[in-house]
């Protein structure tokens, strides 16, 4: 069902050697605008940011394109914009850009329209926030008018097309403000679904026309940021199914689709999701609806509100539209904490003693060192990065009079991303076996070996090849996994910040498995070797099967980890071919979710193909794979990431 127009837009976005947002003209404009505004230090930050938005909306270049049904280009630039400013200017400006990773209340904005939102703001108590919110809203309205979309510059939209366009403008503007990443759409099928139903039923739009519109929208997303998450399902409607079908046809890498799978999921919806999965572009991410809802309730969020969750960024759940979740704000590297613990000179009589000691150490370290740092960072945001437009769009801010960074949202969370649970478990197993069970080595010898990066090659091999590693579905290992992950999650859950923000855990830290240089570990990793990612096993697992990995990962404390407990499984294309192959995907998802897993997604590839793509990239311009929580064109990914994907594909991860 791809029209000629869509084919043109597709070809353009796939062949673009650089995205609009990366063009020099874009970078320069962005830098100059910031430079022009941010030097006025007499204004409070929130007003400065509003001024920036106004100048931006006023001046940025618009390229008219009669072929497009959805207009407006995403403006989110890379840090390269900084090179257009002098050292002085940079120092004067200071840091610019918050961490994004939010999903605002698009639905409320659609209902109110610009004029309704303006009227809501006017009810605020006077102050800098009110002034800044007004200014930011005017800037937004100007943006819309400059694109020629007068029907939605003031009044709320009445058609599906207008509503979709307004969503896109909100999205664009959020990216412009603060240069944010992973601004997510949330439950688009819920807040746009009724517009589509009404237009279809009353004949304002045909199915084909709506399909084409959505194609335009999705292709638009490919122009910009890598991780625009869009959550479907829960309550299904025609928009839910249509979007799944659009993405299956287009085979592009954005938006990043997530689906809610639960007891009420219809066969049709699941089938459409599986069809998309079998296409092999790494979507959708499957989320276990009751488990995710339950994990948000652990934060004191009421059932009703917790049920209305969507995914932000890669895998992080948050209540939709009314939360400021800061999902990637905090990080912990478990193997580093174990390393610190091992530097202590203590004597342990048994593994149980050692294990209890480690848990106490973790708790103390988190509460005394790590959490205070997180809190400092959280409070610092209020001063440095207040975002007036984002705050307008997050329910709770206008009502409370506070911007989002000050804590205006109804729910204030702080993501604690935890790296290396698999490697930690394997390390504990090594310690138990070699030091306590077999008594082949002392603690001192172990720490010396680690510090010197395993000069004893036989010991290194022994650690690497130890049987029953996490992922092999060994009962004792699974019990350890359940115990340690539950403990860590609870330490984080049970200690809110004094400012009221709730840290919340997720066992993954995007990119840190590749970038972070971690010292050697008892699991047999040498220094700098990748640690385990998400809830998956370490890479030294000796070819466990898919089901063993799923059974093992199911033991991680998913019900406590709303900030995301991802698991990637690689399957060969031949394994998911045909109806039996698609059925297989569904069976794996259902079985894993029955066991309580939080999330599952698939890389449909084969390792040989990926190796070939490295050698002969020109043959693989269309190959899209899964990278953590989003999909990307394989040949454009950095080499260290490519290697990780290849290695993990071979292991079925």
């Amino acid at each position: 069902m791809i029209t000629a127009r869509i084919q043109r837009l597709l070809d353009r976005v796939k062949s673009a050697s650089e995205r609009v947002i990366h063009r020099e003209s874009e970078q320069r404009f962005y830098a100059e605008t910031i430079g022009a505004v941010m030097v006025e230090k007499t204004l409070p930050p929130v007003l400065l940011y509003a001024e920036f938005l106004y100048k931006f909306a006023e001046k940025f270049p618009i390229e008219p394109d009669n072929d497009e049904l959805i207009v407006g280009s995403q403006r989110f630039t890379r840090p390269e914009w900084r090179k257009y400013l002098s050292e002085d200017e940079l120092t004067q400006i200071g840091p610019f850009g918050n961490i994004g990773h939010i999903c605002v209340d698009y639905g409320r904005f659609l209902c109110r329209g610009v004029q309704g939102v303006r009227s809501d703001i006017s009810a605020m108590l006077p102050g800098n926030n009110k002034e800044a919110f007004f200014r930011a809203l005017e800037a937004f309205s100007l943006l819309v008018r400059r694109h020629g979309c007068d029907s939605i510059a003031e009044a709320p939209p009445t058609t599906f097309h207008d509503a979709l366009q307004l969503v896109w403008f909100i999205h664009v503007f959020l990216h412009a403000e603060n240069n944010a990443a992973a601004v997510s759409f949330g439950r688009l099928d819920q807040y746009l679904g009724l517009y589509l139903e009404n237009d279809l039923d009353s004949g304002v739009i045909t199915w084909e026309e709506a399909f084409e519109l959505l194609c335009c929208f999705c292709i638009k997303c490919c122009e910009g940021d890598e991780s625009q998450n869009l959550t479907l399902g829960g309550t299904e409607n025609r928009l839910s199914i249509m979007l799944l079908r659009v993405m299956a046809e287009l085979k592009i890498w954005q938006p990043s689709l997530s689906v809610r799978i639960g007891p009420d999921t219809s066969g049709e919806f699941m089938s459409a999701a599986v069809d998309l999965c079998a296409v092999g572009t790494g979507m959708p991410s499957f989320f276990n609806e009751p488990v995710v809802t339950g994990s948000l309730e652990k934060l004191g969020i009421s059932r009703n509100r917790a049920e209305d969750w969507g995914i932000v960024g890669c895998y992080e759940a948050a209540p939709m539209g009314n939360s400021y979740p800061l999902t990637v704000a905090g990080g912990i590297v478990l193997p580093e904490i174990l390393w610190d613990f091992l530097q202590n000179d203590d004597d342990w009589n048994s593994f149980d003693e050692f294990y209890v000691g480690f848990k106490s150490f973790f708790r103390a370290k988190y509460l005394q060192c790590i959490l205070p740092e997180f809190e400092k960072r959280r409070i610092g945001m209020a001063d440095k990065f207040p975002s007036p437009f984002e705050s307008i769009c997050v329910t709770g801010c206008i009502e409370s009079g506070l911007n989002a960074e000050e804590g205006g949202a109804i729910y204030n969370l702080y993501g604690v991303n935890i790296l290396g649970i698999g490697s930690l478990i394997d390390s504990l197993l090594s310690i138990r076996k070699l030091i306590f069970d077999d008594k082949d080595i002392t603690f001192e010898q172990m720490t010396t070996q680690l510090a010197d990066n395993f000069p004893d090659k036989k010991l290194l091999l022994r650690c690497r090849n130890l049987p029953d590693k996490f992922g092999s579905d060994c009962l004792a290992t699974n019990k350890l996994a359940a115990n340690i992950s539950s403990f860590i999650a609870k330490v984080i859950l049970n200690h809110p910040m004094s400012c009221g923000t709730r840290p919340y855990p997720g066992f993954f830290w995007f990119g840190q498995d590749i970038h972070r240089h971690v010292a050697a570990g008892p699991d047999g990793r040498i220094a700098g070797e990748r640690v385990s990612y998400g809830c998956g096993p370490g890479e030294m697992l000796d070819s466990a099967g898919v089901t063993s990995i799923l059974n093992s990962a199911a033991c991680i404390a998913h019900s406590l980890c709303a900030c995301g407990n991802p698991l990637t499984i690689s399957l060969n294309r031949s394994d998911v071919a045909g109806d039996s192959g698609k059925a297989r995907i569904r069976q794996l998802v259902e079985s894993y979710f029955q066991r309580g897993g939080f999330h599952l997604h698939f890389n449909i590839v084969d390792a040989e193909q990926l190796e070939d793509a490295k050698q002969n990239p020109e043959k693989y311009a269309d190959l899209v794979v899964r990278v953590s929580g989003y999909s990307a064109t394989f040949i454009n990914i950095a080499e260290s990431w490519q290697d990780a994907i290849i290695e993990r594909t071979k292991l079925g991860m």
Binding site: K457, R462, V546, N551, Q587, E590, S591, R595
Partner: protein
């Protein structure tokens, strides 16, 4: 007490998707009465426990040289030598080989141990109409063990497949018939002389058992390994299709194209491999084999792995 019966197992493979319907776990038993020249599981042939040595993994730590009770591992003229005639298969060398160069192939397991392992994936079986498959080697060679496993599996409500070459007394097949949902039945060659030459055993008992199973009401999936130059002859493919058509018990036919992955495994257990010159069959040839068989029967014919 069926739980006390033991057998020699050399692998338990999870997420087996080519060994019967759904997602399954396949239990591989050691020992086979056939000697197929193309066998890609050569470590399955001998019923005895064996030691496998993967030479390139050896790091030369010397532990096996020093500790083998029978001096089976030696360094001669700077080269590592494994004298298998001295090997008493105690497994000591493998237990301390951290490089994973030496491994014991084959393990004595009780029925309850096997079933416990198989049951780990029960949700996957339930959601996919999968279950347990017994294979090998030839499971019928460890008949008591196979029978006890099937009975125990049925007690757990598991769907059971039996992968067999058909070379066993029919009374035994009749005994386990109530517990087997699908027989995955190998048919290696329909020409009696070629069959004897390439598998080491006569064809007729295998054909008789196939017919008898079908008459007894068993459900059968016919599995046909096709090796270029050995049994890819048109006569064999036609005859296979005709057999499939004539026996109501046969529900489908799968063609298994040859793959050369058995060669390194043979080397690791100190055996020769006679088909070292063969490679993966081209896709067009495989399609033609399927087409030829399908021309003789209305039942489903497809190729796999």
């Amino acid at each position: 007490m069926s739980k006390e019966v033991t057998g020699t197992v050399f692998d338990i493979k999870k997420f087996a998707i080519h060994d019967g319907p759904g997602i399954r776990t396949t239990v591989f038993m050691k020992g086979c009465p056939l000697r197929c020249v193309w066998c890609h599981n050569p470590e399955s042939i001998s019923p005895e426990i064996e030691i496998s040595l993967v030479e390139h993994k050896c790091i030369g730590c010397g532990w096996c040289f020093e500790n083998c009770p029978n001096q089976g591992h030696q360094m001669i003229d700077g080269k590592r030598v494994f004298d298998r005639s001295k090997c008493i298969r105690c497994g000591l060398c493998a237990s301390r080989c951290y490089a994973d160069a030496l491994e014991v192939i084959g393990k004595e397991m009780s029925v309850s141990e096997v079933i416990t392992e198989v049951m780990k994936d029960k949700p996957f079986y339930d959601n996919s109409d999968g279950g347990m498959t017994l294979s090998g080697g030839e499971p019928m060679l460890q008949f008591e063990f196979t029978k006890a496993l099937l009975i125990a599996a049925k007690e757990q409500g598991l769907h059971c497949c039996l992968d067999t070459c058909g070379f066993a007394p029919f009374e035994r097949y009749r005994e386990i018939l109530p517990y087997v949902d699908i027989f995955l039945y190998d048919l290696k060659n329909t020409d009696p002389e070629r069959h004897k030459e390439y598998t080491g055993v006569p064809l007729q008992p295998i054909l008789d058992n196939l017919r008898n199973l079908s008459d007894a009401g068993a459900a059968i999936w016919l599995r046909c390994p096709i090796i270029p130059g050995i049994n890819d002859r048109e006569e064999h493919l036609i005859a296979t299709g005709m057999i499939a058509e004539s026996l109501p018990g046969i529900k489908q036919v799968t063609v298994h194209p040859y793959h050369p992955l058995g060669s390194s495994k043979s080397k690791n257990i100190g055996k020769d491999y006679s088909l070292s010159d063969k490679d993966f069959a081209p896709r067009e040839d495989v399609a033609k084999w399927v087409e030829t068989i399908a021309s003789q029967t209305s039942k489903e014919v497809k190729s796999e792995g």
